[in-house]
Amino acid sequence: MNTAIRTENLTKRFGKLEALHGLNLSVPENAIYALVGPNGAGKTTVIKVLMNIFKATLGHAQVMGRSSTELYGQRLASIGYVSENQELPDWMRVETFIAFLRPFYPTWDRGLEHQLIKQFDLPLNRKLGKLSRGMRMKAALLSALAFHPKLIVLDEPFTGLDPLVRDELIQGLLERAEESTIFISSHDLGEIESFASHVGYLEEGQLRISEELTALSDHFREVELTFDSPPLIPDKVPDEWMHLSSSAMVLQFVDSHFDKDKTDAQIRNLFGDVRNATFSPMSLRSIFLAMARSRREQR
């Protein structure tokens, strides 16, 4: 499968602060890749390096088959970028903004433009500076979608938006998903889970996980074991078990490498007979919370 974005050993330092540590990332073409992680994890820095806004200190990044450092001029005509903190020309009216950008893109689609204006219910006569945050994001997204970009890069697009606007934005995005690769950063795990095909978890500048969302969900389980008598927690448990806790006859943990047969065997091996064992699928939010807590406990 071709990759739309690939980074190798990507490192970015700001003075003494190392924002990214040797990041290796691969985003397949036509994927909806969600880069998630807590605030300050380095998501925006990754995106700014990919978009050639920042230069990497070490390593390199490829975007659409080209080094990210070569992304300028007409090479940006097939990439739509929207960021929560992007400075738009506030003095422009929405229609002026759209009309100004139109000639920059040879593939600009007036039909799609009108469709998006209707879909997003954009007030064409209002100045960008007078729009609500949600409306500004919609205007920015329209300007990033109307030319059929091959790659759409979104940096925290849903932050601070009400649920209705989020749904409208996501809907607008999903309708374009077939023709584009979408790379989106967010710390809103609930939203991401509903539409992402791939997910990467970035923490302290390091990519802890990067894989298909279904595969990730498949190998994380919340395990609850019920015993006939209070269980003894062994000194050594498998490394992939996180947050081991017990209360009375029940023992709980999160298995990060769940495989039914393997996990059954590990449980039998450590605890012998168990009265009942349940393996509950986890939401993306629960998975990343478990990982973040585990990391904190390890420190």
Binding site: K48, M51, I53, F54, Y72, G73, Q74, R75, L76, A77, I79, Y81, S83, N85, Q86, E87, L88, P89, W91, F100, L101, P103, F104, Y105, A140
Partner: protein, 375 residues
Amino acid sequence: MNQIWNIFRKDARHYWREIAVSAALLCAYGWIDVRGWAQQDVLETRIFAYRFLSGLVDWLLPIAWTFLVVRVVQGESLVGDRQFWVTRPYEWKKLLLSKFLFLLVFLNLPLLILDVVLLAIAKFSPLHYVVGLLWMQLLILLFLAIPAMALASVTATIVQTLLGLLVIALYMVGMAALASQIPNSDFSGPVDFLPGFLFLGTCIAVIIIQYARRKTGISRLLVIGLGVVVLIILVATPYRTIVAHEFPILGGSKLPFQLTVLPPDTAGNRSADNEKEVTIQLPFGVSGLTSDSIVIVGGIFVSVDAAGGVKWNSGWKSPGLFLFPEQKSARIEFTMPRKAFDRMQSAPVDLRLEVAFTVFRDQTSRVLCYREANL
């Protein structure tokens, strides 16, 4: 071309107020200029008002132009990482060209039109002065628009630009103070052009770096580097060697003009004294300058020996003095520390004056005719 035109139109639409202010000031400048030709006929009170207005417009016009340049460059700010346009398919050469097109249309063109109109009002044919008119436009571009563009390209907002201007002003005050302490640094010689060329070269380099790469850190370092280099030039220039090289002593050869000391006039040979310095004016008679020549005095060196071994010299100073063929007298002025003056003033002194000068001879004389104008 499409992109250049698109950005130009956007800027013209957005900055119409700045364009209007600059155009209004330019019209005022032209009107005042024409009125000034006839000012000798105007009443005294009106002359005061005229001079005030003229001085005001002389200040406001370059400020308005600078503001216009800064605003239009910062329309696509080159500093920062949040501007929407940096992730759009802008081509830097086209962006830069669109900004230059804007300056040509809204800064140079109105000025050119005004110059042509002024020439026409004064009954001169503009067609005879095309080179001069274009040269004027180039000078405005080189010494106003390009420095303003460079400053605007390393600052993100008008406030930052004003701070930058403040730093530059402080630097210049500091340099002037330093220059006053360095002997001979006031001398006007060939090295004078070097800081100017470096300044212009740095401005152009900064603009290109910013538009092509947006490396603000490097650009700002270049500007700081320019300041340091100019400082080094000021401090390390061997002024005396340059004077000796550029102005060899005219041994036996005949001097192109003669200066004779005149007695002190009643208007006083001292003026503008203060606690620390005394200004001395020496009146001279001028003769012998041929009618096709003018003399530019590039430097003077005054040395004074008084009784008791007291000595003082001015170092090479640039007096900004021109001598014309019809001129009969001239006054050379220099300042002396009050302490030295007080020790010398009551006794006879030996004063030696060295003059470094260049004679310019007109090889193609031209007669300017003008009719009916009331200069």
